[in-house]
Symmetry: C2
Subunit: 193 residues, 2 copies
Amino acid sequence: MHELFFKKLREVISLSEEEEAVFRTYLLPKKIRKKQYILQEGDVCRYTVFVEKGILRSYTINEKGNEQIVQFALEGWWISDMYSMITGEPAKYNIDALEDAELILIRSTDLEILQERIPLFLKFSFLQMRNAYIAFERRLTGMATLGTEERYTKLVQSYPDIVQRVPQHMIASYLGLTAETLSRARKHMSNKK
Amino acid sequence: MHELFFKKLREVISLSEEEEAVFRTYLLPKKIRKKQYILQEGDVCRYTVFVEKGILRSYTINEKGNEQIVQFALEGWWISDMYSMITGEPAKYNIDALEDAELILIRSTDLEILQERIPLFLKFSFLQMRNAYIAFERRLTGMATLGTEERYTKLVQSYPDIVQRVPQHMIASYLGLTAETLSRARKHMSNKK
DNA sequence: ATAGCCGCTTGATATTTGTCAATGATAATT
DNA sequence: AATTATCATTGACAAATATCAAGCGGCTAT
């Protein structure tokens, strides 16, 4: 049970048998169906979510009523509304499943306990956060420096799984485009080639 | 010496006298003049920089030859090219001073040593990284969901110091706009009021 | 003191992207 | 199996923003 979760942990830190046992007592497995919410805007985010199977996404609704996708989370990735989780304020994001999914939830309070009890897990959390930070930083500069087609191309190269498994209008939203613009960009690119 | 640095540390964690002494042995003070580089694209980033006084910025040059500002760092903030620093690959960013500045550099290798020797500093690093992550996340969603004027207004509210001390064409770049567009947006806003 | 650079503004025009509307295809639901 | 959603595409048009060019102070350095 939870093979992927511990595999991911062990890629970065080494846990003893006892530590792994401690961990297990804090893991909350949960299965949800496609389109089900794990967090809705306005609720307080009390869990960090690890994806064992399926795809989740986080998104906001802007003033015009459009979904703006913040993040996708495939197998082995983490997702939450970090800001809501640490401040206790109502979430700005929604998180739901794009495919039937198997998740592991960890209560935000338990996360801190785990970081205290298992020092290496604090290190893991730091490294995890660092990677997440870099990813956002690069995505942001990409949004500002790259044109539409380059942004899409880069996504295809970096995360082909996302492009294959997620509807294109969501990819468009993730890239800061409309579905129409992405469709035309793709057509334009295929003509060139 | 380095009052601001330790003040910032103590806001989050508590250090003993000895620990503070350990810290001091790893701090590299450095003063630089306006327009001087602390990192140039292509070099490997080997330091994390803490700003004691002045303002730094990081930026890239896009294909059209325009500067794209990634980040500003005022007094009490940290700045580096994280990706280059942890991978050892050539930096994609330039970092330079917008005002004469007093800095504290910490070698990337020493950062890890400090995190090992002073466990609370690992916690500090984690929390620091978490805040930086959240800041980027929100900035990214702001770029996608907010219009030009709202983006600018939000920046003025959140970081009035930046707006006051940094030339407007750099603010524009930071917000993903041209200098002209920001100028017109500001005019439009002042007419309304 | 002055020549030159830098930062900001304004206008005219071009480009990109968004919006609205319609269609066909595929997948999901009853 | 029939009916409804969902998704991708396309066209016509509108809106936002970039680009190019010029001018105007104010600050800096010689």
